[in-house]
C-alpha cells in the first residue's frame, strides 16, 4: 500500500494507481470545483483529456497546480489539494456564483468592458478573485530539467497495439526506432479492455523491440511536431511533486526523425445533457479502464448512454464485476433480432441527471419520445470517438470528414508522417443531436461553457469557429478542447445549417498536453540565461572590487571606488586624474578587425564612408560606417599597420553586428576582392593610457619616444610585443596598447605600476563617459542612434567624395541632408542640472524639438553639460531651451552651444 494525502487527509493507494484511480478506490467522487460557476466536479476520464479533476500536487518549489488527477501516478507521500474552492471542497462560497450564472454567460468578460472604466475595475476585482484554477508556485523549483537531442529512422508515438506492432516491425527491419508512450505502461487499449490480462503479448513485444535496438520511452509525451520532422518529447522522470531520484525531474527531447508514425488513438466524447458535469458522470472507456486496469468499480447502479457499440464492452465488464446495469440508453434505432442480455433502450438519449450530496442520484432520458428515469450512482457515457490528430495537424496535414464515425481523420501529410490505428480509423457512431435544455448542458467542462453559451454567441453574431472559441473561451485551458471541440462544432454547424466539416476547425497548436516552464527553460535559467563574456583581465579587475557595468554580453568596470566613494564620486575622481595627470582603463571589448591583402584599402573604402587609401603606413584616422539606407551605424578608427595590412576598430556594443556586416559585404558585394577580414576582437586585449602625463608614462614603458597623435608603432612592454595606437577618446594625449589577450597580464601590471608612479589612477566606463561628453565625442547607441546621417552629426566633410561605400546610394537621397532634421548640439545648463534623456522644448506645452542623449559635468570647472539632438540645431547656437523629463520630475534651463566643451582647438592631444 502507498500512502498519499488529499486535502489534508491520508489515504491508501495500490501500486500503479493514478491519483484518480486511488481517489475512486477510496470512494472520493468530488475532486474539484469548476472554473466559473464553482460547480462540484468529479473524475470524468482516465487520461490526459481530463477536464474536471484538476488538483495541485506537491508543496514548496515542487508545487504543480492544475495537474490532472488522471495523469499523475501515486507515490509514497504524494500531497494533493483540490482547487478553486473556499473554505473547503464540499462547502464552497463561490458556488453561489452558479446562481448568478446568467450574468456569466458567453462573453461576460468582454461585456464588462462596456460603460465607464470604473465599472470594469469593479468587475475585474471579483472576476479575478473568483475565476481561475490552481495558484502558481511562489518558490523556486529545486529540481533539474534537462534537454537532449536524438535522431532516429522511425519515431512511433503511442504504444497501443498499433504503435507496438509498427515499432516492432521497424526495429526488426533494422531501423533505429524510438517508441514513446505518455502512460507509464505500454498497451493502452489492450490494458483498458483487458485483452492482454497476463501482459504476455505487450511484454514480449517490448522485449523484441529492445532486442532489435529500439528505444522505448514511457511517461513521455510527443508534445510538439515542428518543421522537417522534428518532434519534441516531454519525459517525466519524477511524478509531479516527487523528489526525483537523480535530481532530474523532467527531460525535453528534440527528436529529428526520418519518419514519424502516429498511433495516438482516439479520445471518447461526452454527450450533452443537462447536469452532465456532476461527479458520477464518466466516459464509458474511462469506466472500463478503472475496472480492468485498476480493479476499481466506479459505480454500483449504472446507466450506460451510447451511440456506438464500444460502450457495450463497458456494460459487460461492469456486469461481470458485479455492478447492476439499470439501463443501456442506445441512441440508435433497434437492430433486428439482437439480444445482449442487457436492459437496452433504443432511440434513447439522456436528458438530465439529478444528484444529492455531490453524488449522482438519478438519470432521466427520452426513450422513443417518452421521458423515463432511473436511480443510478454512475452514468457511463460514450458520444463517439475523436481521433487524436494533433501532431498530424501540427505537422501541416489536412483532415477528411469520416461520416460514419462523425469524426475528422488524417488526410494528406505535409511531412514524413503517417497515422495508423484508432486515430486513422475511428469506430462508427450514430449522430446524436442533443435534445436536452441547453442551459446546464455542458460541452466544455473546464471552461464552464454550455450549449446555451454557443447559442448565445451565435445569436450575438459570432459565426467563425475561431471567434466562437475566443468569445466563449471554449477549447482553452489545460485540456485545449480535447473533449469539447467536436460538440461545439456540431452545435455551430447545426445553427449554420451546414455539415460539420463546413463549419471549420480551430488550429491545433503545440503542446499537446501542458508543459512545465522549467522544462522549456532547462539549464538555461538564472545566470545561464545568457552567456557572459569575460575580459582577459577579468580577475585583475575583480580583485579591485569595481562597480560592474553590463555592456552587451560583456561586463566592464564602471568605476573603481576607493573607501566609501559613491559611483559619481569615484568616476569624477578618476576623470580628474585623466584631465590633470594620467589614467588607464581596459578597452579590450572594442571591436577589432584585421584587414589584409592587396585589395585591403579598396575593401575598407567600401565598409567605411571615409577615405582610407591615402593613409600612410603607420598612420591612422577616425572613420564611420553607414547602413545601406545612408544612416550612420557605427564609428571607430582605421590604422595602416603595413603596406597591405590594416586594423579597424569600432564600438563594443556594435561589434557582433559589425562582424556580420563585414562578412556580408565581403561575401555578397565584393567576392572578387583579394582581401581577408578577420575578427580579432578577443585576440587582443586593449589598455588605454590617457592624460597629460600619458606620453611620459608610455615612454617609460616602451623605452622609446611614443608615436605622435594618430600614429601607430610596434613595441615591447615587459618583454611582450604590443601594438600602440596613439588615439584619444578622452580629449587628452592618449595611447591604446593592444596585446595578445593571453599575455595581457604582465603588460597591464607594468602599466599600472608606471601610472601609479605618476600618481595617476585607473578609470572605468563612467569616467570615460564624462570625458568623452565634455570633449564632444560620439557614442554608438547614444548620439549615433540609427536615425542620424553624417550631415546630422557634422561628419559630412569627411565623406569619401568618390562614393562607392555602403550607404552612398541611400545617403544621396535629398531628404537625408535637408533642413528640418535633428542635428547634434551641445547644451550647457543655465539653471539646474540637465537630466539625461530629457526632451528639449521652447516653453511649457510646446512640442519637443529634440532630446538629451548624454549628460555630464565639466570635469575641472564644474557645471552641467550635455550632448543632444535638436531640430536644425547647427543654426541655433545661443538659443535658450528647456530640457525637461516629466517622468522623473526634473528640468533645466539650457543654452544651445557647439558640441565641444573642452579644448575645442584639439591642442591637448598633440605634442
Amino acid at each position: 500500500m502507498i500512502n498519499f494525502s488529499f486535502d489534508g487527509k491520508t489515504y491508501q493507494a495500490e501500486k500503479g494507481d493514478t491519483l484518480a484511480a486511488a481517489l475512486l478506490r477510496n470512494g472520493i467522487g468530488l475532486v474539484g470545483r469548476s472554473f466559473k460557476y464553482h460547480r462540484p466536479r468529479g473524475i470524468m476520464t482516465a487520461g490526459v483529456e481530463e477536464p474536471n479533476a484538476l488538483v495541485t500536487i506537491g508543496d514548496g518549489g515542487r508545487t504543480e497546480p492544475n495537474t490532472r488527477a488522471t495523469d499523475v501516478f501515486v507515490y509514497e507521500g504524494l500531497v494533493a489539494k483540490s482547487q478553486n474552492r473556499w473554505p473547503n471542497l464540499s462547502f464552497d462560497i463561490g458556488a453561489v456564483l452558479g446562481l448568478a450564472a446568467p450574468a456569466l454567460s458567453a462573453g461576460f468578460y468582454y461585456k464588462t468592458f462596456f460603460g465607464s472604466a470604473k465599472r470594469w475595475m469593479f468587475y475585474e476585482y471579483f472576476i479575478r478573485k473568483a475565476a481561475g484554477l490552481g495558484n502558481a508556485p511562489t518558490k523556486t523549483d529545486p529540481d533539474l530539467f534537462s534537454q537532449r537531442a536524438a535522431f532516429c529512422d522511425v519515431l512511433v508515438v503511442g504504444a497501443g497495439p498499433a504503435g507496438l506492432s509498427a515499432a516492432l516491425e521497424a526495429a526488426e527491419a533494422g531501423k533505429r526506432v524510438i517508441l514513446v508512450e505518455q502512460d507509464n505502461i505500454l498497451g493502452a487499449s489492450l490494458i483498458r479492455d483487458g485483452q492482454d490480462r497476463d501482459g504476455a503479448w505487450v511484454e514480449s513485444t517490448q522485449a523484441r523491440i529492445r532486442a532489435a535496438g529500439g528505444r522505448i520511452l514511457t511517461r513521455t509525451t510527443a508534445s510538439g511536431y515542428w518543421e522537417h520532422d522534428l518532434v519534441t518529447l516531454t519525459q517525466r522522470i519524477a511524478e509531479p511533486g516527487q523528489i526525483p531520484p537523480h535530481g532530474v525531474a523532467q527531460r525535453l527531447w528534440h527528436v529529428r526523425a526520418g519518419q514519424v508514425i502516429l498511433a495516438t488513438g482516439s479520445i471518447e466524447r461526452p454527450m450533452a445533457f443537462a447536469h452532465n458535469d456532476r461527479p458520477g458522470v464518466m466516459l464509458s472507456q474511462a469506466v472500463r479502464t478503472y475496472l480492468n486496469r485498476f480493479g476499481v468499480v466506479p459505480g454500483k447502479r449504472v446507466v450506460i448512454a451510447t451511440n456506438n457499440d464500444d460502450a457495450y464492452k463497458t456494460a459487460y465488464a461492469l456486469k461481470a464485476a458485479g455492478a447492476e446495469i439499470v439501463a443501456v440508453l442506445d441512441a440508435r434505432p433497434a437492430p433486428a433480432g439482437a439480444d445482449s442480455g442487457l436492459p437496452v433502450y433504443h432511440n434513447a438519449v439522456p436528458l438530465s441527471t439529478k444528484g444529492a450530496r455531490h453524488c449522482l442520484k438519478s438519470v432521466t432520458a427520452r426513450v422513443s419520445g417518452l421521458t423515463q428515469s432511473w436511480d443510478a450512482d454512475l452514468i457511463a457515457v460514450s458520444g463517439g470517438f475523436t481521433p487524436v490528430v494533433h501532431l498530424h495537424m501540427q505537422a501541416g496535414g489536412t483532415l477528411d470528414w469520416n461520416d460514419a464515425a462523425q469524426a475528422f481523420v488524417p488526410a494528406t501529410s505535409r511531412q514524413n508522417v503517417t497515422t495508423i490505428g484508432g486515430a486513422a480509423n475511428p469506430e462508427p457512431v450514430f449522430n446524436v443531436v442533443p435534445v436536452s435544455t441547453p442551459k446546464k448542458s455542458f460541452i466544455d467542462f473546464q471552461n464552464d461553457v454550455t450549449l446555451s453559451d454557443v447559442d448565445l454567441a451565435w445569436a450575438e453574431g459570432y459565426r467563425s469557429v475561431e471567434h466562437l472559441k475566443r468569445y466563449t473561451t471554449l477549447g482553452m485551458a489545460t485540456d485545449q478542447g480535447k473533449l469539447s471541440n467536436m460538440a461545439a462544432l456540431g452545435r455551430l454547424a447545426e445553427k449554420q445549417g451546414v455539415a460539420i466539416p463546413e463549419a471549420g476547425l480551430t488550429t491545433f497548436r503545440p503542446p499537446y498536453t501542458p508543459v512545465t516552464m522549467g522544462l522549456l527553460a532547462g539549464a538555461g535559467a538564472k545566470d545561464a540565461g545568457a552567456h557572459v563574456r569575460r575580459l582577459a583581465l577579468y580577475d585583475v579587475h575583480a580583485a579591485k572590487n569595481p562597480i560592474w557595468q553590463p555592456l552587451g554580453y560583456w561586463f566592464r568596470p564602471r568605476a573603481y571606488p576607493v573607501g566609501s566613494e559613491t559611483l559619481a564620486q569615484a568616476a569624477m575622481r578618476e576623470a580628474k586624474a585623466v584631465r590633470s595627470n594620467v589614467g588607464m582603463t581596459d578597452v579590450s571589448t572594442l571591436a577589432k578587425f584585421e584587414v589584409s591583402g592587396p585589395d585591403a584599402a579598396a575593401f575598407l573604402e567600401i565598409i567605411c564612408a571615409t577615405t582610407v587609401g591615402k593613409l600612410a603606413v603607420g598612420r591612422g584616422r577616425y572613420t564611420f560606417m553607414l547602413r545601406e539606407d545612408g544612416f550612420v551605424f557605427d564609428d571607430g578608427t582605421v590604422w595602416r599597420l603595413d603596406e597591405n595590412r590594416y586594423l579597424l576598430t569600432s564600438s563594443t556594443g556594435g561589434a557582433d553586428r559589425m562582424a556580420t556586416h563585414i562578412s556580408y559585404v565581403r561575401q555578397f558585394l565584393c567576392p572578387h576582392l583579394r582581401v581577408s577580414a578577420v575578427n580579432v576582437q578577443e585576440h587582443y586585449a586593449g589598455i588605454a593610457v590617457a592624460g597629460p602625463q600619458a606620453k611620459a608614462t608610455l615612454a617609460a614603458l616602451i623605452g622609446e619616444e611614443p608615436p605622435r597623435h594618430m600614429s601607430t608603432v610596434l613595441a615591447m612592454i615587459s618583454g611582450v610585443p604590443v601594438i600602440i595606437l596613439a588615439a584619444s577618446y578622452s580629449g587628452e594625449r592618449a595611447f591604446e596598447i593592444y596585446v595578445e589577450a593571453s599575455h595581457a597580464g604582465p603588460v597591464w601590471a607594468a602599466c599600472e605600476t608606471e601610472v601609479a608612479k605618476q600618481g595617476g589612477a585607473l578609470y572605468g566606463l563612467e569616467a570615460m563617459e564624462f570625458l568623452r561628453i565634455e570633449k564632444g565625442h560620439l557614442v554608438v547607441g547614444g548620439e549615433v542612434d540609427g536615425r542620424m546621417t553624417p550631415h546630422d552629426l557634422a561628419l559630412d566633410k569627411m565623406l569619401n567624395k568618390a562614393g562607392g561605400y555602403v550607404g552612398a546610394s541611400g545617403l544621396s537621397r535629398p531628404a537625408l541632408s535637408e533642413a528640418g532634421r535633428r542635428q547634434l548640439v551641445g547644451l550647457e545648463a543655465i539653471e539646474g542640472n540637465i537630466p539625461e534623456g530629457a526632451m528639449l522644448v521652447t516653453g511649457e506645452g510646446a512640442s519637443p524639438q529634440g532630446h538629451v542623449s548624454a549628460a555630464a559635468f565639466r570635469i575641472l570647472d564644474g557645471g552641467s553639460i550635455a550632448l543632444g539632438q535638436l531640430t536644425d540645431g547647427f543654426a541655433r547656437h545661443g538659443e535658450e531651451l528647456i530640457a525637461t523629463s516629466p517622468t522623473r520630475g526634473q528640468m533645466a534651463r539650457v543654452r544651445v552651444v557647439a558640441p565641444h566643451f573642452y579644448d575645442t582647438a584639439g591642442e591637448r592631444y598633440r605634442d
Binding site: L230, S663, R666, F668, S809, G810, S812
Partner: protein, 87 residues
C-alpha cells in the same frame, strides 16, 4: 525548427543558422538610389518559393543561399556563396 543542409557541414538544425535577407534584397554597391530603396523596403515577399540568404553562424560561419518554400518549408536547393563559390 527546420533542418538545413550546409554545403560545408551537412545537415544541421536551424538553430545554428541566422537569416540575413532574400537574394533580391541584396543592394549592389552601384545601385541607383531608387533601385537600392526598392530592394531594401519594397520587397516581393512571395507566398511560396524564394531564395534566402542564411549564415551558418554557430557552425562554419559560411553564408549560403537556401531556396525554400515559405508555405511548406520544403528546401529545394542550397548553394555556397562568396569567393570560394566564384566561377
Amino acid at each position: 525548427m527546420m533542418q538545413f543542409t550546409c554545403p560545408h557541414c551537412g545537415p544541421r538544425d536551424q538553430a545554428e543558422f541566422i537569416y540575413e535577407r532574400t537574394v533580391d534584397a541584396v543592394v549592389s554597391l552601384d545601385a541607383a538610389p531608387e533601385e537600392a530603396m526598392k530592394s531594401l523596403f519594397t520587397r516581393t515577399n512571395p507566398r511560396g518559393v524564394d531564395d534566402e540568404i542564411w549564415r551558418h553562424t554557430y557552425g562554419c560561419r559560411a553564408w549560403m543561399v537556401i531556396t525554400r518554400n515559405r508555405v511548406t518549408n520544403e528546401i529545394s536547393a542550397t548553394r555556397a556563396v562568396g569567393p570560394e563559390a566564384l566561377p
